[in-house]
């Protein structure tokens, strides 16, 4: 892999961005050379204090993205938002500055179906600047797409793919518990869904990635969001959910061909989940399934996947890449032996 110092700019210092900063500090080859956040409470302060490192890092958070990007880096880790249209200008600025991009923007994970024109623009701009761009994370980006596709390698034929992710939100941060509607009445939950406030982003993107990877032609991708209703009182560190209230989301996406679901992804994220875990089931020749008992931790795993992809994105073909294209594994921050010696034979 990579045998040199990798200069990184962190773009976005919410909980995930801060978590990524702390993780990057564990990798000796990664050097954080810049940090961007528009929040006046963060800009102008030392990155170490903003990201909860517990010490100063000598990098001042700036709200002037253009200036930081002009300073140059190998890669930008981008964690500012879930909607591709609202972050597209940020992404274009990064690749125009000739930096590779690893982003946790959910809609960037597989944007071709929902944003065909924008996907093409991002791809062209990245390719023209000789850099690669990747949207990734744990979901979308890993458990419900990359892992599904990877398992499919042992199949002679795949007829349909299912993945289920059950997350116990009890131990997760308060903003997440609120985001999934925990403690709301069912009526309030439904109003918040209708208003677009309650929504896990990325299931349709994962459906599309899996379908394309498996060679399925989809007519339509459907998505529903229902409340998981608490059957008993649940108390977390942050809030209480009474029986009959919403405990979280039950979100299901299907990729349909002639009305038949070829890809089905089901997310149950709620406080008090008793059987958390990630499950993949492939129906085909042969059938095969896989379980991750307890499941992957959302925030931790998203930060890990983003950081672990940094060496891979540096070696990827320029343009807009996806988790499907990228060989993913842990990045120790110490280089694996380089064995490639192109020469004459």
């Amino acid at each position: 892999m990579v045998n040199r110092q990798i200069n990184v700019i962190q773009y976005g210092l919410g909980p995930i961005g801060a978590s990524i900063v702390r993780l990057m500090l564990q990798k000796p080859e990664l050097r954080i050379v810049g940090a961007i956040d528009v929040d006046p409470a963060k800009a102008g302060k030392d990155l170490g204090l903003v990201a909860g490192v517990g010490r100063e890092l000598g990098v001042i958070v700036s709200s002037d993205a253009e200036k930081v990007l002009r300073g140059g880096a190998d890669v930008v880790v981008h964690t500012t938002g879930s909607w591709l249209e609202s972050v597209a200008d940020q992404l274009l600025a990064c690749v125009t500055a000739r930096t590779h991009v690893v982003s946790t923007c959910e809609e960037l994970s597989y944007p071709f179906r929902k944003h065909p024109q924008l996907s093409q623009s991002l791809d062209r701009c990245a390719a023209a600047n000789g850099v690669a761009m990747l949207g990734t994370g744990v979901n979308p980006g890993f458990v419900m797409d990359k892992l599904v596709l990877t398992l499919s390698a042992v199949c002679r034929r795949v007829d349909s793919a299912n993945a289920t992710r059950i997350v116990d939100a009890s131990k997760r941060r308060l903003p997440l518990q609120k985001k999934i509607g925990a403690g709301m009445t069912v009526e309030e939950f439904e109003r918040q869904v209708a208003a677009g406030v309650i929504k896990h982003h990325g299931l349709p993107e994962s459906v599309a990635m899996v379908a394309d990877g498996l060679g399925f032609t989809l007519d339509e991708i459907t998505e529903t969001i229902q409340p998981m209703v608490a059957s008993r009182d649940v108390k977390t560190e942050f809030l209480e959910v009474a029986a009959g209230q919403a405990a979280g989301v039950h979100q299901v996406a299907h990729g349909l061909h002639q009305g038949r679901p070829l890809v089905s992804l089901e997310l149950r994220m709620y406080v008090g989940a008793t059987n958390p875990g990630d499950t993949v089931e492939l129906v085909g020749d042969p059938d095969i399934s896989m379980t991750v008992p307890g499941g992957t931790h959302g925030d931790i795993a998203t930060a890990a996947v983003a950081v672990n992809c940094i060496p891979a994105i540096l070696e990827a073909k320029p343009g807009l890449r996806t988790s499907r294209d990228i060989p993913m594994h842990y990045y120790a921050g110490a280089s694996a032996p380089e064995v490639v010696h192109p020469a004459s034979c």
Copy 2:
């Protein structure tokens, strides 16, 4: 991925090669343009008859590899042997003919540690000819290395990696049951191990791939082969094992650093196994594990992985590649949408 006819030569028509031929016939884009086997019982016959297709394919199996390779193809699927030194000339002939290679040679899956010089020669020759070479299969190549590494993407830190594969050999072909010593006395089993006859190939290769992928420095890779002794009489379609006789192999490989195992792979392949399955366990931050209930079927999965890698190898960087480098998933034989349009932005 690939949007055109892919011309393939099948090199080796043992059980795995024949299984690969039958699978390739299910992929409309793959066209088998040549077949090589030195066995006089196969050479000169139609490939369809040799490979158990049940009909003629209009491709005559030839023992003259050079001649077949001279005919040209995009990729050779190579399935002639487990020892790299004994098949290296075949592999060099393939890349010299400018064909990509997907091989099930176990020692090719990660040959850098055991065969550093030969690895370099193969890499250089492939790169010089602008083609890629890959050794893969289910084990080595997938369950005990690729899958381990893929799961590690969600970890912030990995301290050690373990994989266990339990295979019920009762339903497998007779040569495999014999190869693992089923029905031998323990003494005979141990003689056959000492003679190098009983041995699953590839555990040290998987250990090395996992260690390099996770950034571990190994001082040593150890490997032991013990009999699984039958605790009761077992009868398969092909043979009988009495209680007290060997029912199969229990093979363990460790990657050690200062005497401590950082990678541990355990294979139990025997007739009458009651709890078959593949398990991966990563110790780190966080710990994570994964189970494939029932496990992946060895022969089927090796054929599937080899065929599924064909589109990926055509797009890989020239030279000697490994499962670690290659994004792996099922190949439908129908092309996924091409979304890359390198152009100016």
